[in-house]
């Protein structure tokens, strides 16, 4: 009797795992398969679960005949530049907050929290007007500056948790040995907070890679458009070529999948430590 009960339980569990996997992986599988089918096979009834003729024509078309490689490169540039700015500003700021006593700290933290939670819609109108006046529309650095500003508050909170976890005795000892405060940050705190820096960096890169609203508001020429703005305008028109679009979708998530495979540990740790602690 007991053996049979466990058997039933195991089958139920396996069924839940199977259904969950199907729901999660199904859409991704279907995107990849559609991308690998010829246009005629895509609209075939009944649909084929696996392409009868595997072809890379959608991928080669997307890479050779469209602006996708350019958009992709733009996204990479935005992500890298934003990451550099955020890393520099946030390391300094989190260090000051974690290690120094100063007047106005509480007020500063309130300021950081509010900016972290404000909706991006409050930015589009004023920045659109002032960028127009200052000739900053379609300017790479202007978009990077907005992205950095949006990421800095979140990143400060994230890194602060890691900095606070490093015992203060370590920096006191280094100061006694003759280190300056800046050296303490660069030589001791930052190396010890490496997981935090990784988590913060991944968070920033993923944010920039996904972002749509600011990207499409402040760039409208192909040479500066990032990936998501390009895709979004291509799928909201009528007469979408679904084979090519699905191939583009696959290309667009490759960097995210790579990050996920190699840096999952940091990503997960950062996500769960940044938002809820204690």
């Amino acid at each position: 009797m007991r053996g049979r009960k466990i058997g039933l339980n195991t089958i139920l569990k396996a069924a839940v795992v199977a259904v969950t996997t199907l729901i999660i992986a199904g859409p991704l599988y279907w995107m990849l398969m559609t991308g690998l089918k010829a246009e005629s096979e895509i609209y075939q009834v009944p649909p084929t679960l696996f392409p009868a003729h595997l072809t890379l024509e959608n991928f080669t078309y997307a890479l050779k005949e469209t602006k996708i490689p350019l958009y992709f490169l733009n996204s990479v540039v935005y992500a890298v530049l934003t990451l550099l700015v955020v890393m520099f500003c946030v390391s300094l700021a989190a260090y000051a907050i974690s290690r120094f006593k100063f007047k106005g700290k509480r007020l500063y933290m309130i300021f950081i929290l509010i900016t972290q939670l404000m909706p991006l819609t409050t930015l589009i109108v004023p920045l659109y007007i002032s960028f127009g006046k200052m000739n900053l529309m379609n300017n790479r650095f202007a978009l990077v500056a907005i992205y950095s500003a949006v990421q800095i508050p979140v990143a400060i909170w994230l890194l602060l948790g890691y900095f606070n976890g490093i015992p203060r005795e370590i920096d006191e000892a280094a100061i006694i040995d003759g280190c300056t405060h800046f050296q303490v940050l660069v030589k001791i705190i930052l190396p010890l907070a490496k997981p935090g820096l990784m988590a913060m960096s991944l968070n920033a890169v993923i944010f920039v890679w996904q972002e749509l609203m600011l990207a499409m508001t402040f760039t409208n020429v192909d040479t500066l458009r990032p990936m998501m703005a390009g895709i979004s305008s291509a799928i909201t028109i009528t007469g979408v070529k679904w084979g090519q679009m699905n191939a583009v979708g696959v290309i667009a998530i490759i960097p995210m999948i790579i990050i996920y495979i190699f840096c999952q540990k940091y990503l997960v740790e950062g996500l769960s430590s940044g938002a809820v602690k204690g």
Binding site: K105, S130, P153, W242
Partner: protein, 297 residues
């Protein structure tokens, strides 16, 4: 400069780069946005007229506003409740698994890193009225008799998008609850089981109370994110059909760049800001308690 003043100034210097960027790119726009909201300011006319609270009054008395707020509430609350129930359920389920724990945990998180626009692309394709795989399966299995217009029927579109967003956002809940379960009170759970409690009793009276702080902060955080979420809706329906999926951020964007009414869009953004700030107060309190606990404040 004496060593003492240098020491006193140091923290402020460290804060300069971050603060400068935030003030220029977030602080100034908020103030400017409030300014714009008090003007009749459209892209068409070059003349800007100060109108005080007229934009706010126009928005609040517009019957569309009630519809937008209702849509936003349904989108946010239904979305967060679904994410929460499925996330908690899956986390508890995976926690009890003997084999394949790691595999399921790893795959559960994948939708989280798929960009909203790509999520939109995938689901839009699968949910196509005539060519989509889902309609094909539903008809083939005899569940529906004719094609369901998932994205173009005003009565269905919002729920379709809530489901798609649940696909994308549930992993975060799963992650948070799984993290919370790492410190679950094993002794209490064992004691309860010894006293004859069934598993669902243990969940109800031991595990859920233990998780409640995590549930509370994840709830507030995901509610704000969901409310503000723009990408997925924009890349699928752009707020249509007939405003059925126009939430606050989507409608604000349309006011600005479809109706070219900057004054009203700015006022709408201020209204969103107020709503979110009110919802955030408990979250902010918790973040400050953490800082005090860590000895920073």
């Amino acid at each position: 400069m004496s060593k003492k003043t240098r020491r006193a100034l140091a923290p402020y210097l460290y804060l300069v780069p971050a603060t400068l960027i935030i003030i220029v790119m977030l602080g100034f726009p908020i103030i400017y946005n409030i300014g714009v909201s008090t003007f009749k300011w459209t892209l068409m006319s070059s003349e800007k007229v100060f109108t005080g609270f007229d934009n706010y009054i126009a928005i609040l008395t517009d019957e569309k506003f009630i519809k937008i707020v209702t849509t936003t509430l349904v989108w946010t609350l239904l979305g967060v409740v679904l994410q929460m129930l499925i996330g908690i359920g899956m986390a508890l389920f995976v926690d009890k698994l003997n084999v394949g724990k790691k595999f399921v945990r790893v795959s559960m998180l994948i939708p989280w890193i798929i960009p909203g626009v790509v999520t939109a692309l995938m689901w839009k394709w699968m949910l196509q009225a005539d060519l989509g795989i889902i309609n094909y399966l539903l008809m083939h299995l005899g569940i529906t008799e004719k094609n369901v217009l998932f994205m173009s029927d005003p009565n269905i579109a919002l729920f379709t998008l809530v489901m798609v967003n649940t696909w994308k956002a549930t992993p975060f809940w799963f992650l948070m609850i799984t993290a919370g379960l790492q410190s679950k009170p094993v002794d209490q759970m064992e004691a309860a089981t010894m006293d004859g409690a069934r598993y669902h009793h243990v969940v109800r009276y031991v595990i859920l109370p233990h998780l409640s702080p995590v549930i509370a902060s994840t709830g507030i955080l995901t509610a704000i994110w969901t409310l503000n979420y723009f990408d997925l809706i924009w890349a699928t329906t752009k707020g249509g059909p007939m405003d059925a999926t126009s939430t606050l951020p989507v409608y604000t964007y349309r006011l600005a760049f479809e109706f070219n009414d900057f004054g009203r869009a700015a006022a709408m953004a201020v209204i969103s800001l107020v709503i979110i700030s009110v919802a955030c107060i408990p979250y902010m309190k918790k973040m400050f308690d953490n800082l005090k606990y860590e000895g920073v404040l």
